[in-house]
């Protein structure tokens, strides 16, 4: 269990974290999502007592981190895999951490075995590849067999095999009933790993909901329709009150399922040559949500005619206990031809409770 209450952090005049409140619960992988520079690492450092908050407070396992006795046995963290002395062996690195919390040396060898570094334990950690350093960091986080684990971008720079390993690893920890809080700037990665998402941008909370829900309500769906009788189809759709845009010899209809469009066309006796639902990519959804909050953003060329309207942050939805693992949602689709579909002008549709 990790709690943040009204957490605010200024570095000089730069506001890194802005009145952030959330709770991370046990038994699930909670993703901490945000663009680069959105305050994810800062938040984690504040939780772990490395930095002092300007305002607000955090609690881990019911206490402020500084008040924990033998903190490694309660909280494990991997914030940066490069926090190692290059000439110190992997085993010595873990040995000093273990000694500080009265963890027996046998446990050092145990965690080295868990992460698969036993054979290189005596080698200087500076010679490790990034993947090996990440594993060493994970070993450090596991040393005290803690109930709460924090990982900051653990898959950054890993090869596919390493990513798969870390992902499985985190899910297993959550399955053991531990609290797992993992940050990432990749929604597609979090979609595969996290049960719950806390999304921030520019240090502010954007969403706090289950991953399923977040993806469902933030990915824009549209239907592409082709017909030899487009003008007639246009009037039919217009009469039904559906929004659509023209795309070379086709219509892109938004806000209606393909069934409804097919039925309308059938009732009017219009032949259709294509009726294909298109769902936006996760990356698009993420950009829509955090678009306003990218700190070092470029002027986005793809935005077209107000296509990627920036939406006000929705109210955080209530917590939903994690369900069974989902199928991964469809990945990035090829970019739609023509202008991007317009978004509904209103804020995101309210999250259906208890879906």
């Amino acid at each position: 269990m990790i709690e943040a209450i009204g957490l605010t952090k200024y570095y000089g005049k730069t506001l890194a974290v802005d009145d952030l409140s959330f709770t991370v619960r046990p038994g699930a992988v909670t993703g901490f999502l945000g663009p680069n520079g959105s305050g994810k690492s800062t938040t984690m450092r504040l939780i772990l007592g490395l930095d002092n908050p300007t305002r607000g407070s955090t609690k881990v396992a019911g206490h402020r981190y500084a008040q924990l006795s033998k903190p490694l046995t309660q909280v494990g963290a991997l914030l940066d895999a490069n926090w190692i002395h290059p000439n110190r062996s992997a085993r010595s690195h873990l040995r000093f951490m273990a000694a500080s919390n009265k963890i027996p040396v046998s446990r050092v060898d145990e965690v080295l075995d868990i992460v698969g570094l036993s054979s290189v334990a005596k080698r200087a950690a500076g010679k490790f590849s990034l993947g090996m350093k990440q594993r060493l960091g994970l070993a450090g986080a596991l040393l005290g067999d803690p109930q709460v684990l924090l990982f900051d971008e653990p898959v950054n720079g890993l090869d596919p095999e390493g990513i798969f390993w870390v992902r499985t690893f985190m899910k297993n920890l959550a399955a053991q009933g531990k609290t797992v809080f993992v940050s990432s700037h990749l929604l597609s990665e979090m979609a595969l790993t996290a049960d719950h998402l806390i999304v921030i941008g520019r240090g502010r909370l954007i969403a706090d909901s289950s991953t399923e829900e977040f993806i469902a309500r933030s990915t824009q769906t549209s239907v592409r329709v082709r017909s030899p009788r487009l003008p007639e189809l246009r009037s039919v759709l217009g009469q039904a009150g559906l929004a659509f845009t023209d795309a070379d010899n086709a219509l892109i209809v938004t806000g209606a399922p393909s069934e409804q469009i097919g039925d309308l066309a059938g009732a009017a006796g219009i032949t259709l040559h294509e009726l294909s639902p298109q769902s936006g990519s996760l990356e698009e959804a993420f950009i829509q949500l955090t678009g306003d909050s990218v700190e070092y953003g470029t002027s986005r060329a793809v935005s077209g005619q107000g296509g990627f309207a920036v939406q006000p942050p929705p109210q955080p939805a209530g917590f939903r206990p994690p369900g069974a693992m989902r199928q991964p949602p469809p990945g990035a689709l090829p970019p739609p031809q023509g202008p991007p579909p317009p978004l509904p002008p209103s804020p995101l549709p309210p999250a259906p409770e208890g879906r």
Partner: protein
């Protein structure tokens, strides 16, 4: 005890302390040999025999400063604080460890150098004996100086955090700053002898009349006062280091 052990593991699982300790031994015994052999040891009084040990003290300060600055350089200070969030305890353990290592090193090397010079010098100006308290002070006194120098270096390292900066300070302060300070008219000669490292040197300086020729001036602190000034400077720096450490983001 636990914390001391943690710092011991950290310090001796890297290579630099071994190199530094070896250099201290080399510098100490090198100078001792030199003074004992040149001109049949005609200049072999403890104060001069042990000039190499005094140089070793600078090397030891580099070791002590690096013990904390490398933690900042490589980020392991965060691992340390994650394991022990009570930062003053971390600094206390590190300081105590380096003071202990310094004390033992200073004592062993200075006494070792003394006996080496005693064995080699054929015609010392005074018999090389360790009998009176004053004799012991001039030789074994380096144990105390090393320990206090360790505290100063760890404190400076904690405040500055950068290896290059910390090393520059602990080397230039005694070697350059304090000797230049005495050149300032009127204030220099009065205050200069009371500056920490100059005062510390009094603790291992001879007081008897025969060797007065090696002393620049008879004013300034007595040996015990010199030691107290040095220890006081270390205490002040250490308190500043703790306050800074507690307040700062790691």
């Amino acid at each position: 005890m636990t914390m001391l052990n943690v710092e011991r593991i950290k310090l001796f699982s890297t290579r630099s302390p071994y190199w530094c300790l070896a250099s201290i031994v080399f510098a100490g015994f090198g100078f001792a040999t030199l003074f004992a052999l040149v001109d049949n040891g005609h200049a072999a009084i403890p104060y001069l025999i042990l000039r190499g040990v005094n140089l070793g003290m600078s090397i030891f300060m580099v070791l002590a400063a690096l013990a904390i600055t490398t933690e900042y350089r490589f980020g392991t200070i965060r691992n340390t604080f994650l394991a022990t969030p009570r930062r003053p305890a971390v600094l206390a353990a590190k300081t105590l460890l380096l003071a202990l290592i310094g004390g033992v090193t200073g004592l062993v090397v200075s006494v070792g150098c003394f006996y080496l010079a005693k064995a080699l010098a054929q015609d010392p100006p005074l018999p090389l004996e360790l009998s009176s308290g004053d004799d012991w002070r001039q030789v074994a006194g380096y144990g105390a100086l090393f320990a206090i120098a360790g505290v100063i270096a760890v404190s400076v390292g904690t405040i500055v955090r950068q290896s290059a900066g910390a090393i520059a300070i602990v080397l230039l302060w005694p070697l350059l700053f304090e000797s230049l300070f005495t050149l300032i008219p009127t204030v220099g000669p009065k205050v200069g002898p009371w500056l920490p490292f100059t005062a510390a040197d009094k603790w291992v300086s001879p007081t008897n009349s025969i060797t007065d020729v090696f002393q620049s001036s008879s004013s300034g602190p007595t040996p015990v006062q010199g030691l107290l000034v040095f220890a006081g400077a270390a205490a002040v720096l250490w308190v500043v280091a703790v306050l800074v450490l507690q307040r700062r983001d790691a």
